[in-house]
Each structure stands twice: as C-alpha cells, then as structure tokens.
Chain length 372, copies 2
C-alpha cells in the first residue's frame, strides 16, 4: 500500500483543477481557529531573548513535558516531545520492531495509511484485521490474528477513518494481546479531544509495560503544521524499560530536538485554554456530523455515525469508492472525498469524508441531490 | 563513541554546579541576536489565518525551498527542508548506507560526535581518518582509507571542532573519492557563513551525482532551536537519482513535515536580511578569535587558528584535555571547554572552546593567568 499523502495530493489536485466549485472534504486539516493562548505564545516568543531561540532539550521543553505528564498522569521522564504524532508513531513502531522478536505489524483494515507505509518502509510485514460492520476492531479477531511473529499492534482511537472509539476495557484487551504475544501496543490517540460518545479510554489506563501511547496537539489545538506531539513510553527500570532510552537516542540522532517556537506556543496554549474551547470544537463537529449523516440517509448511503474524530465513511448504492468515482463526485456533485481503496481492502467500496470545512451543509445538500 | 549531547550535559552540569563563576565555552549556541526579519516573521505568523497553521508541504514551504534553491543555484526539486541539519544529515547518511554497497562510514578524527553516534546507531561501521597538524583532512589520506566497503564519507566545512575550511578543489577531490568508491559524500556546510579565510567551497560546486550537501539556518540566523535545515540531493533521473525519492519518503514517514512557524520566520529572514548582518556576525567571531588565540599564545598552548566556524581547539603544556582536567579548568580557572576525547583519539589531549559567549576576553585572561 502506498502511503497517504501522494494519494491525497492526487485527489486534491484533481479537485483544484475541476471546472466547478468543489467542497474539499479530502484532508483532515482543522478549519477553525486555534485558542488565543497559542497566538499569545507566538507573540511573546517573537520578543524573546536570543537564548530562548537556541536548542530546547532534545526530549522537549521541561514545562511542556510537565504539563503533558500531569494531564496523562504519568511520570514526566516517560514523555518524549516529538515532531508531531508522526514522529511519535515512528519512534514507537521502530522501537517495537527493534525490541520484540518477529517482524510483523498488526493493523486494522481500513487503516490510516501512514502506519502501513511506515511498516513497509521499515521492512516489516503487515497483517490486517478487518473491522466489523460498526467499523470497530473486535478484540477477539485481533487475538486470533496475533502471533509470535507480531511485534507491533497499532490501534487508533477515536479512529481515522471509521470514527470508532474504544473504551478502557477494549484498550485493556488490546494491551493484554500485546503482552500475551510479546509485542508492543502503539495507541495513537490524536483525536482524544473529539470523543462524542463519552466512552473513550486511553491505552495508558491499562498500565501495561507493553503500551506506548502517542498523541499530538495538531487536532486539539488546530495546528497540524506546528508539529508538536508526544509519546509516553513504559517506565525505565521495568519490563521493556529500555524502549524509552532507545527512543530518546533515535529521536536525538534523527531530529536533535523539536522546534522551539512551536513548543513554546503549545505550552502557553495548554496553560491558558479553558475546557470550553475543546467543548466548542466538539459541538462544532457534532453539528456537522448530524447534518452530514442526515444527508447520507437521504442519499440512501450505508454509513457508521462516528463516535469520535473528524471523518465519516459512507457507501453509496451502486457507486463504489474508487478513484474514478471520487473524481466523478468532484465533477458532478462538487464534493471531494477520499476513495476507500486508499485505506485498504475491507472498505474499498466506501468513501471517506473529512468534516473539517464550514461548508458541510452545502456538501450534504449536494450529495443528497446527486444520489437522490 | 558516545554521541555528543550527553557528554555536553556532563560538562555543562559540572560547570553549573561549580562554586564559582564560569565562562561557558562548552556548547555551540550563538549568543547574538537573530536578524529583525526573523522576529517580524514570527510576529506576522502569530496573526495568520488558521489555514496557515496547517501542514506545510512535506518537503518544506515552497517559497523557502525556492529561496534556498536560488542561493545554492540548484533546481528547487533537489531541496528537502528538514528538521535542522540533524535530520538533513540523517537523511543523507541513511540514504547513502541504503543505496551503496558496503556498510562503512568514513569520518574525520576529531569528529563532530553526532556523525559517529548516528553511524553506530544505524549499525554501520566507522573508519576514522586523522586530520593533519593543521587540523585538516588530507585528501590523499582519505583516498587511502576509502574502499569498496565505504558507502558514506562525511566532511564538515568550516569544521567543528578544528576550524578547517576546505576550498572547492579539496571538495572536488572528496567528491571524486566518493565516485571512485561508489559512495556518497555528505558535505555538512552549516558554518558556511562563518568562513574567515575566503576560501570556502561548497561540495555542490563539484556537480557530482555522489554528493549530498546539508545545511541549516541554526548558526547563520542564530536559531539553533528552530530546527530548519535542508539537504540538496542529486537530481532525479540521473545517476543515484533515486536517493531523492527515498529521502522524501523517509522524511515523510518519520516527521510528516517540518514546523511551519519556524519555516515562515526563516523564509522572511532570508528575504529581508542584508549581507551586513552576516558580515557583522563574522567580524564578531573574528575579534573573539583574535583575543582568544592571543591568550592561548600567552598560555604557551598549541592550537590552530580557525579558518572558519565557532571553535578553537588547543593543547596546553602538561595538561591533556581529559574530562578530569576540563573539570579542573572549570574549578580553578573558571572556564568551561569540551574535552578533546569527546571528539575521538587524534586530539584526545586537546580541549575545544566555543567562542559563542560575549565573555571571550574574560575567558582568555583567565586561561592566560591559569597557565601563565
């Protein structure tokens, strides 16, 4: 499987060249404002002393790590601030592949394509577990697929692309599967602020030495371009305790450190942003989900209403989600989505729509008209 | 060999805990102001639209790449903007090791320890070529050491730690050695704005398909913490043309993209900073070099007056540059340097001093007193 971005590009370029107005629901960039504290952090940083323009600690600014550690209720030493969740997942997956026997990465199908692309690039083999009809991984299916060949299991909750959310019990089951197979559960929780079900549980709650949780501020603060994320590794001194040191070394020898202006701005935003900001963002998405799912109903589409995240996958009658049909939808309906085949086999007939545009209502009407 | 930062930390922590005032000449962070255009870039970015807070292109903001390409006189497609020179060197070294036969990385001794640390981490073998009495790599010695086992040759000019500067002819010889041995010359040119000899030549002038030039704005704009660097790869379609695509993929799967606030600020600074800023920075360093080398003469030390960069290495009579002696220098003279042994064997008796402090005069007096 190819990794995501070039495929995104193909679709986005097609939409940009279209002869008509197109509502872009292709990529997952928030379209709303970051909290004002983030801008304040940038403003103050612009006037900082030259010493503050020099290397932050390789593992991240201390105050930022402390804020993260307090929020996640873990020791600060376990936190590495990374260049977005991308690097956090990279450190976790390479660490798991190096540390555990076996060269297999277990992934959901449909999958966020970066996981599969990274596994392929690293020379690992991939095994896919199809989600059930609700778009969810069944722990029993994961348990059946896992083996001594498995060194990494990646779970993403709230999920891109299906919108599934796993609760603490499900996460504990995934962690137990990792433990039973001497493997690492990498739990990518970047959409954790976008749980509409109230059931989201972090993999950290399993308190397992076989878990690395990854996250970023890209979605929760609407700053995908800042590249500030983090990984929480098992504690040093315990089982799998050397994963942390190895990740610190890899991070240092790859990137030296993360970008300080971005870390400063995020640190300020975390200290000054009220819970209301996050609640507003959730409500905005929930309104969009209501309207979009209503239109999907009108269009006679099959879909799972997302429990979390930014995306809705849908299958339209006699209109499989191939690149060809997605292009037709751009040209004829004026709505851009991502073909399901970009995410694997099990939902190759579906189309993923990202609800990060203020024009969700318009897109919903256009789809209802086109399929109605 | 251990990589640099933990060893830096050991010395910096010792200096911080000392009972007396210590002039810190341990690490290479510029102590002067960035150009005003950089701050203007940050100020404007703080007020930008939300879309400007989202992912930049993975290979870097287009306007920044174009500015770099124009300055280096290369096609813009050859430029990947990286998370500092650290990631640029990482992409180049991993690319060379993947692409060429052999698993050996050829390095100067003394060496910037990140090169050796990265080679070790990647499972490569390292071979060291001692510099000559002037602190320079003799191309003949490099040619004698290179073999079919060599896949990467790393050269750093102006050099950390010796201050050597290689001209275009020497660079062409290093490139020819890489070509003759089917290997990659990685030319780290981060101190290129700090050439006091007027002889610096970029490896790009050799116009060889076996060259990757790496650089960053950390030193030239005094922003080591921003993490904006770049690598220039051989053109696609020519010999070794697939190095570029492989590096783009590795960059995307490791970091997704670099940090946009930092890239925006650098882009503005490049467009608005006059040559006088860079000339002032050079003059500041040259004054410091004059004074410091004068004191080294008084102290009876052996040293090479640097042709470029931030550092002076010196050997004092009966005072080899061990960690023990460096600690004594901190306690007794109030001057912190880096032990030569941190950089390899050939100058293990020497001490490296970074001239990035306004207190160079004071340090010079203290050293002259201590050894006088």
């Amino acid at each position: 499987m190819d990794y995501e971005t070039p495929q995104f590009f193909r679709v986005m370029q097609y939409a940009a060249r279209a002869d008509r107005d197109v509502v872009d629901m292709v990529s997952g960039n928030p379209d709303w404002d970051p909290p004002e504290g983030l801008r304040d952090g940038l403003r103050d940083y612009a006037e900082a002393e030259p010493t503050e323009f020099q290397y932050p600690p390789s593992v991240g600014l201390r105050e930022l790590r402390e804020e993260i550690a307090a929020r996640r209720d873990v020791a600060v030493e376990r936190v590495i601030v990374t260049n977005g969740a991308g690097e956090a997942n990279h450190l976790a997956m390479t660490g798991g592949l190096d540390h555990f026997d076996g060269d297999e990465v277990l992934l959901a199908d449909p999958v966020y394509p970066y996981y599969a692309g990274r596994a392929n690039f690293l020379g690992a083999t991939t095994r896919f577990v199809p989600v059930d009809d609700d778009g969810r991984l069944d722990p029993a299916a994961v348990r059946a697929a896992a083996s001594e060949e498995t060194s990494v299991l990646v779970v993403n909750s709230p999920n891109n692309p299906t919108g599934a959310v796993y609760d603490a019990d499900a996460m504990a089951e995934f962690a137990a599967i990792a433990e039973a197979n001497d493997a690492l559960l990498v739990s990518d929780e970047v959409y954790d602020h976008f749980d509409y079900s109230g059931r989201f549980g972090s993999a950290l709650e399993a308190d397992s030495p076989n878990v690395v949780a990854t996250n970023s501020f890209s979605k929760s603060l609407a700053i995908t371009g800042f590249r500030v994320g983090y990984a929480v590794f098992p504690p040093e001194g315990g089982p799998n305790g050397d994963l942390l040191e190895r990740a610190r070394t890899r991070h240092m020898l790859t990137n030296v450190a993360g970008s300080r202006p971005a870390q400063c701005a995020v640190s300020r935003a975390l200290k000054t942003t009220s819970p209301e900001y996050y609640a507003d963002c959730r409500r905005r998405l929930e309104r969009r989900i209501d309207r979009f799912c209503g239109a999907l109903d009108e269009a006679g589409a099959e879909f799972n209403r997302p429990d979390g995240g930014f995306y809705v996958m849908a299958r339209f009658p006699d209109f499989p989600g191939s690149f060809e049909n997605v292009y037709e939808l751009i040209d004829e309906a004026g709505v851009g989505g991502m073909p399901g085949e970009a995410f694997g086999d099990s939902r190759a007939d579906w189309i993923r729509f990202a609800l990060v545009t203020p024009r969700v209502d318009e897109a919903a009407e256009r789809l209802a008209d086109f399929f109605g």
